[in-house]
């Protein structure tokens, strides 16, 4: 409060004193109780609210929750006390689900585009009009170009109902989850081929809580928040686990590390291969495990024999003694060592697969599989299948030339059609035209690197529609927007968790749907009726959920009676003597023959990633703990905690450029693309050859009134995309920026000498 304000009160109070005295209210207290009582409700907080169990969807980790409802209004979200993974805890985002539900910028009714695509001008239409229009266009495009001209980008809880529609229409381009090709695709394939099971996908089976040592390579757990993972990570550390963090940026996890290695970006595989060689040469590997359970050890030994720590120290710009201390520390803790593959693993395109394969190999050499502290086996949880929630007949029509099966990436078919091949097909009509796109739960503009090409592709489409909760980028680029319920307004399928403490739970509505929105199941059902697709016969979502619960001998009612969750016994570990892997030989593949069959390296090789061109620095992004993707930046409470991102800039570089903390700059990438203004965080906690920002900011949709234009969008600085050769995942650390301050272009000085072995990126402009 300022002085003037104080004086104003003083005057008012003096007058009140005078009047009080004159009216003779002696002894009753000068200042009477307030009369405007409405705002002074007794302090009961959320206590006494009606409690409904459900499942969070502020991110895809899906913690069990309890929603607290007072007078029909959701007031608070807490963790489900019966949940073995989070108990009563939810993260900042989980807490903020309340403000997703009540966000004034939600899509409230079906919308039809009236301006240009991307302009965000709409007319309100009825559900009948909206669904008729979507159905008409699907049929028209299918008739004119064939079923494969229909494509579907989806992510999240209830995208599968609409996926069924695309399946039933006969297209193969429906499982193209951008999440895989922009995120965990490389580790998923690397671990699948090494161990025979997916240890890392939507879930990651890493037993950090029981580890004696942990290795994180740029994985920033803590800033990247999935509650059970954070809890296991912290429990591991509290139980005395040693932590090695390899990251060009001093992350929140690095702050907790015993050894922090600020590696030169793009050289992680060099470090890993040198470590693997060191572990073999110094006999630090688990001989029993390798002899009994691994194929290809001799091939591995030969393949890595040239990678010395001395060599890696030069390539990685690390101190040899630190690298040695770190690998000795990890080896000493074996087999209770956790090498966490991280998420958002699509960095450099070439080499992303090999980098993750090298984590898997080191894990195997330490015998850290199926034992406490290592990677573990998921425990399957029984759940049924609701046939009434899908199309009866969903055979995919054969494509003459298939993008899924004839992919230039020999292993992409496992995950679907790659995002990039669909975008390319839209633009080139090769191998066939793609003319209609459905989008559900994906911000197609901000998630997929090189949004300029994506926007160009969208303009080529005959039709694009989306299911959306918020009027973000996807909505403004769509011809029809189908307003989706938020997760607090609907049922979804049954959720099971196959981790250390398996459970089954179910999402259910905690309040009635607001506005004129519909659940994804009802939207799909409405479309199925219009398209003449048989199936989708569940009358309601309750029926669907009960159908899925049958196999677990549960009903919605019986599940709710026991607190909305059933916990099962986990079987994560195996006897090292008898453990079997679901690879062809039943053994861990240290050298992957399937890769060799496709002329790819069976054992990873170090291939240098081009360094920044002179005058530029590498752009790297990561996650902020209070935001999910681009989804939460408009959330009242989360926006309040972090309204914009900042550019992490090395303090020595900043001093040379004359940039001060909190100053605003603009970034320009190697192709001349410029960012929104972004404030600078000047810090010694980042290498001079890299800058960092949290992902998801700089929204381009004016309809997101809080998030619009706040901070910078990393994706809009990504125009150089390198695809990995195994699955076609898109690189996101292959772009370079320089800084513009007060309209002056500032070249970034090079403070760390570049070894001759690492080429420089050859930019058109630089």
């Amino acid at each position: 409060m300022n002085r003037r304000h104080f004086l104003k009160i003083s005057a008012a109070t003096a007058a009140a004193m005078a009047s009080a005295s004159m009216s003779g209210t002696k002894g009753e207290g000068l200042f009477r109780p307030a009369t405007a009582q409405a705002a002074l409700a007794p302090e009961t907080g959320s206590m006494g609210a009606k409690e409904i169990t459900s499942v969070c969807e502020m991110c895809f980790w899906r913690c069990p929750i309890v929603a607290k409802v007072k007078n029909g209004k959701l007031v608070k979200i807490e963790g489900n006390p019966k949940s073995p993974v989070n108990g009563q805890r939810v993260c900042a985002r989980g807490n903020s689900g309340v403000q997703l539900l009540y966000d004034p910028d939600r899509v409230k009714t079906p919308l039809k585009r009236v301006g240009a695509r991307g302009e965000g001008k709409w007319a309100k239409i009825s559900w009948d009009e909206a669904l008729d229009e979507v159905a008409y266009n699907m049929q028209k495009v299918k008739k004119k170009y064939g079923p494969h001209a229909l494509a579907y980008f989806d992510h999240g809880a209830s995208a599968e109902f609409m996926r069924g529609i695309f399946k039933a229409m006969g297209t193969e381009n429906y499982t193209s989850e951008p999440a895989f090709f922009q995120c965990v695709g490389p580790p998923a394939l690397a671990y699948l081929k090494t161990f025979g099971y997916v240890t890392t996908g939507t879930r990651q089976y890493n037993d950090m809580g029981n580890a004696k040592a942990m290795l994180l390579v740029a994985s920033h757990i803590g800033e990247n928040v999935h509650v059970s993972h954070v809890r296991e990570f912290i429990e591991g550390l509290e139980n005395g686990a040693k932590l090695v963090v390899v990251d060009p940026r001093f992350s929140a996890a690095a702050n907790k590390a015993h050894i922090y290695l600020p590696i030169r970006p793009g050289t992680d595989t060099a470090l890993m291969l040198a470590w693997i060689n060191y572990v073999i040469k110094k006999n630090l590997y688990n001989k029993d495990f390798v002899a009994n359970h691994c194929d290809g050890f001799d091939t591995l030994k030969d393949a890595v024999s040239e990678y010395s720590l001395e060599w890696a120290a030069k390539i990685c710009d690390l101190k040899l003694v630190d690298m040695q201390e770190a690998i000795e520390l990890l080896a000493k803790a074996a087999p209770h060592v956790n090498i966490h593959p991280g998420r958002h693993a699509t960095w450099y395109g070439k080499g992303d697969l090999g980098r993750h394969q090298s984590y898997a190999i080191l894990t195997a050499l330490f015998g850290a599989v199926g034992v406490p502290g290592g990677i573990y086996f998921p425990t399957p949880v029984k759940k049924g299948h609701a046939e009434c929630a899908e199309p009866e007949d969903a055979e995919t029509a054969d494509a003459e030339t298939s993008m899924k099966d004839d992919s230039p990436y020999p292993f992409s078919y496992i995950f679907g059609t790659t995002t990039r091949s669909i975008i390319k097909a839209i633009l080139t009509k090769d191998p066939y035209p793609v003319k209609l796109l459905g989008v559900n739960g994906v911000n197609i503009i901000q998630t997929i690197p090189d949004p300029y090409t994506t926007m160009k592709a969208i303009k080529e489409l005959d039709f694009i529609f989306c299911e959306e909760m918020m009027a973000g980028e996807t909505a403004i680029w769509s011809d029809i927007v189908l307003p989706d319920t938020v997760y607090l307004e609907r049922y979804d399928g049954v959720y099971t968790y196959e981790g250390l403490t398996p459970y089954l739970t179910v999402r259910q509505p905690v309040v009635d749907p607001m506005f004129n929105v519909r659940s994804p199941y009802q939207i799909a059902k409405g479309l199925a009726e219009r398209l003449g697709i048989e199936g989708y016969s569940c009358e309601s979502e309750e029926e669907l959920v009960n159908e899925e619960l049958k196999k677990a001998n549960l009903t919605l009612e019986s599940l709710n009676k026991q607190g909305g969750i059933v916990v099962y016994e986990g079987k994560p570990y195996r006897d090292p003597k008898t453990v079997k892997f679901s690879t062809e030989s039943g053994k861990v593949q240290l050298a992957v023959e399937d890769f060799e069959d496709e002329d790819l390296d069976p054992i990873p090789k170090y291939e240098p990633t081009p360094a920044p061109p002179k005058g530029y620095t590498r752009l790297v992004y990561g996650r902020a703990p209070m935001h999910t993707f681009t989804r939460t930046m408009n959330n009242l409470w989360l926006h309040n905690e972090m309204p914009e991102n900042k550019l992490w800039l090395n303090d020595k570089v900043a001093a040379k450029l004359g940039i001060k903390n909190d100053e605003e700059v603009i970034l320009e990438n190697q192709d001349g693309k410029r960012s929104n203004p972004i404030k600078v965080l000047v810090t010694p906690g980042i290498r001079p050859d890299v800058v960092f920002m949290y992902h998801g900011f700089g929204s381009k949709s004016k309809h997101l009134t809080r998030a619009y234009g706040k901070g910078a969008a990393d994706g809009f600085l990504m125009t150089n995309v390198v695809e990995d050769r195994f699955i076609g995942a898109d690189s996101k650390r292959t772009n370079f920026v320089r800084i513009i301050k007060n309209n002056r272009v500032l070249n970034i000085p090079e403070l760390a000498a570049l070894p001759r072995e690492i080429p420089r990126y050859n930019s058109r402009l630089a």
């Binding site: 004193m17 005078a18 207290g29 200042f31 009369t35 900042a92 807490n95 702050n255 972090m642």
Partner: protein
Amino acid sequence: MEQYAMVIDLNRCVGCHACAVACRAEWQIPVKDGFRRNWVRRLGPARTNSGMSYTFYPGLCNHCDSPPCVDVCPADTVKKTFTCKETGQTKVMEVAATYKDPFTGAVLIDKERCLGCGACADACPYGARYVNPDLADDNSEGKADKCTFCMPRVEAGLQPACVQTCISDARIFGRKDDPEVAKYLKNGAKRLESAHVKIGPNVYYYGKAKDLELLDRLETPQEMPEASLIGKRALFARVGKTIKKGVGIAGIMGLAGSVLGSGEGDDSEG
């Protein structure tokens, strides 16, 4: 009965801000500049004498042993009977609109009697209070608000909202002789105190030397809020008390006038 305290274990904290949001949700704190009962500030990465630190300042009211916010409250005092929830013991104290509960040590605000003048907010060296002018009524300019250690929840047998939601169990709440709390205090948990700010805060921070050094360097207040201002609040408070004892109108106006006069003088200087 020992006073309630909170320990924040920075080794466990990951800076996720769940505490800040859960508090806002629990008590429906409006989103407006400066409106909050607790907060998280992200500190660093910065160099310290013990290496690089990237840590967090999860802050809240310290429920101090000698709370300056209580002393400066100018609201008329009333007799208030405090009851110990555990023992049933009672104690009568003469309190203004903000007071320190003798049995829990929680510093609380009687919202009905709060004048919204902001003296308490100005007096707090930690910036733990804010005034919500939207709650102004016939007799106030708004209402001061701050962390209550979630006393209504604690009395109902619950943990404070920020403690319950903390995803890494970094917040430990209890009386100072609670074994968990006492263990941290014994192991060297630190308070944000300096040479000139020693008012007995009851929020403790535990962590690595580097993190505590950065926290202390960036967040420990070095001076108490401007003395002349607090003096004025005290004078103002005495006016209120004098009135209650039935001093005549001339005296009242005289005292009030002197407050106004000195206030104006300060303003023009400052």
